[in-house]
């Protein structure tokens, strides 16, 4: 008998298991499950921007931080209820993400990567040094939302909220990549000029990609203070950047299911290595390098080849798409001021 594992079945089983987790799990397992869902949201957002739309941006951790600080500070400083503060935090991150799209229209390749990296560092600096608003380097505690009306503890309550939000955002991303917008993203990534010639409005679709990714990261950020009951700048540092990147590369660039797989596995790995920052850096750095070198299409490509029934249409550029004799160096002749990422 052939074992048929379809990508849909995989997602259904995973999310059913996550839904049932609170029944059997202790507080720590529940926390890890919740963290897993936050990172699934982050990876989905980043994959839409990097994997589908081909914008090599490094500001995801900053959007995550803006969402978290937005939601937390509105509660602590202005006394908003979590249910109002959280969407505001997510929308704030989305707004900042959209603003980043404007330099992105003029920048490509290396310039975009480094400008967004510098922006991420700037955000980190603001969180650290704008003491009068952000409480500085030490961070601050945030009250968890109250679920006593439903007879649930805050941890359990926010877990179900995260579950619902993750499922909705996953379904939404699933729809987006199969829509006109998703096709425009892929066209823009593969050949910007050709996409433009075919009527893809680059400004509009880059803005949409950055806004979507900002919204996803911001939503994960808005859930963060409710899950951890604490916010500090350290949660949004450079390490987060490589973590999110490693998730989509390990899972599979340009794949929705890949984002889910990458995020789930790497959160587990992160928890195993929790004690040692240096080990985390070595392992995640090595993972990213190894996958880029040996399995550039991620685990999802592996699943697709080995599991009959795994039929997610994958939107990566085909092998014949990039002529083998064109090297990076050929494309980026000195003075050309950067090149289009392919």
């Amino acid at each position: 008998m052939r074992v048929v594992v379809s990508h849909r079945a995989f997602l259904v089983v995973l999310f059913a298991a996550l839904a049932l987790l609170p029944v059997v799990a202790n507080q720590y397992t529940l926390f890890v499950g919740n963290l897993m869902m936050l990172y699934i949201i982050l990876a989905l957002g980043l994959n839409l921007l990097v994997g589908f739309a081909g914008q090599l941006a490094f500001a995801n951790a900053a959007m995550y931080g803006i969402g978290a600080y937005g939601a937390a500070l509105l509660q602590v400083r202005l006394g908003f209820s979590y249910w109002i503060a959280a969407p505001c935090g997510a929308l704030l991150a989305m707004a900042v993400g959209t603003l980043l799209a404007f330099p992105a229209l003029r920048l490509s390749g290396i310039y975009l990567a480094l400008a967004t990296l510098a922006f991420a560092q700037f955000t980190q600096w603001v969180l650290l040094h704008w003491n009068t608003v952000t409480f500085g380097a030490g961070g601050f505690p945030v009250p968890q939302p109250d679920f006593s009306a439903l007879g649930m503890s805050p941890d359990r309550g926010i877990y179900y909220v995260s579950w619902v939000v993750t499922v909705v955002l996953l379904a939404f991303a699933w729809r987006v990549v199969r829509s006109r917008v998703g096709r425009a993203f892929v066209a823009m990534r593969d050949r910007e000029m050709a996409a433009q010639a075919l009527g893809v409005d680059l400004l509009r679709y880059k803005a949409v990609a950055f806004a979507l990714s900002g919204f996803y990261a911001g939503t994960a950020g808005a859930l963060y203070p409710a899950v951890l009951a604490y916010v500090s700048p350290e949660g949004f540092d450079l390490f987060q950047m490589i973590l999110h990147k490693a998730m989509i590369v390990v899972g599979g660039m340009g794949s929705i299911v890949g984002s889910v797989i990458g995020a789930s596995l790497l959160v587990y790995l992160l928890e195993v290595l929790r004690q040692f920052k240096a080990t985390q850096e070595i392992v995640f750095g090595a993972l990213l390098l190894a996958f880029v070198l040996f399995q550039p299409r991620g685990l999802v490509d592996f699943a697709k080849r080995c599991l009959p029934g795994w039929a997610e249409p994958l939107h990566y550029a085909s092998d014949s798409e990039s002529p083998a004799d064109v090297t990076v160096a050929d494309e980026l002749v000195p003075g050309s001021g950067g090149g289009a990422p392919r």
């Binding site: 480094l114 560092q121 000029m193 990076v328």
Partner: protein, 293 residues
């Protein structure tokens, strides 16, 4: 006046070091079209290597400098072998992601070997810390030594680039890789040396900088982003531009720190990058860009 002169002197010294970091970035970018995102970590490794040799093994300073530079050169070549050569045909994104992987790998290794977060290693000063007065200007003798050494490194680099066979190969490859292949230059070998030379310059600047600041595993990114700011300000493809850019970033940063607040130093790179990208997209000394399809 005294404060201004002090700030300028410090700005020029740190700026010269940023210029060296920028030089490595520019040389690699010119030849290969990619920015090595692990450049900062190669810098950091150079510094730690020198620390190990000079402070722990107690080798003389000059010997440790040379060995650290050689070590950085080897690491640069390794970066090419691991992250650039196999991925060259895959495109920019793969190379950038692979070099980020390397940067975190090296940072983690440095943290394991030379201490955890918050461990700052002090490098002994080269000369007595007495300040020297030149007219109205106060300058730390330490800074003067660093400045002179930086100039020497730049000069050595210029001589290498202009006069040696390898340097000419690098120039030819940078200006047109296809034509370079046609006249018999082994282009991928040149890429390898370019990565090595870029890393060696970074290693040298780390050893020069170590006595002025402290060494810690996270220093790489800080220096990389400032070096990149300097390189962008100079046009990213121009070697003199990188030097001018480095000095400008250093001076700007010191003036901002002196007159606004020291924490501004940490974001000076961001401000410069954004300014340069918006107002001077081709840099001060860069050539006008022609966007190729």
């Amino acid at each position: 006046m005294l404060m201004l002169s002090y700030l300028l002197a410090t700005g020029i010294t740190t700026g010269a070091l940023y210029a060296l970091v920028a030089l490595g970035i520019v040389v690699v970018y010119k030849a290969t079209g990619v920015v090595n995102l692990a450049h900062g970590e190669l810098f950091m490794m150079g510094g730690f290597l020198a620390y190990t040799l000079h402070v722990m093994v107690k080798l003389p300073y000059v010997l440790s400098l040379l060995l650290a530079v050689a070590g950085s050169f080897a690491l640069g070549i390794l970066t090419d072998r691991v992250a650039f050569r196999p991925l060259m045909k895959e495109g920019l994104a793969s190379v950038l992601l692979a070099t980020i992987g390397i940067s975190f790998l090296l940072k983690g290794i440095a943290r394991v070997v030379w201490g955890g977060k918050g461990d700052f290693l002090a490098f002994p000063p080269l000369v007595s810390p007495e300040p020297i007065r030149i007219g109205n200007v106060m300058i730390m003798s330490q800074q003067l030594v660093v400045l002179l050494a930086t100039l020497a490194v730049m000069l050595a680099f210029g001589v290498f680039f202009k006069t040696t066979r390898a340097g000419k190969f690098m120039q030819a490859t940078a200006s047109n890789p296809r034509a370079a292949t046609l006249v018999g230059i082994h282009v991928s070998r040149v890429y390898m040396y370019t990565f090595g030379v870029g890393a060696a310059v970074a290693g040298a600047s780390a050893v020069l900088m170590a006595p002025l600041t402290l060494l810690y595993p996270d220093i790489g990114f800080v220096l990389f982003i400032k070096g990149f700011a300097a390189a962008v300000l100079g046009g990213l493809t121009s070697v003199p531009g990188a030097i001018v850019g480095g000095l400008l970033v250093g001076i700007f940063e010191q003036l901002a720190a002196g007159f606004i607040g020291t924490t501004i130093q940490d974001v000076s790179a961001f401000i410069v990058i954004m300014f340069a990208l918006i107002f001077l997209p081709t840099g001060i000394l860069g050539t006008r860009g022609i966007r190729k399809i």
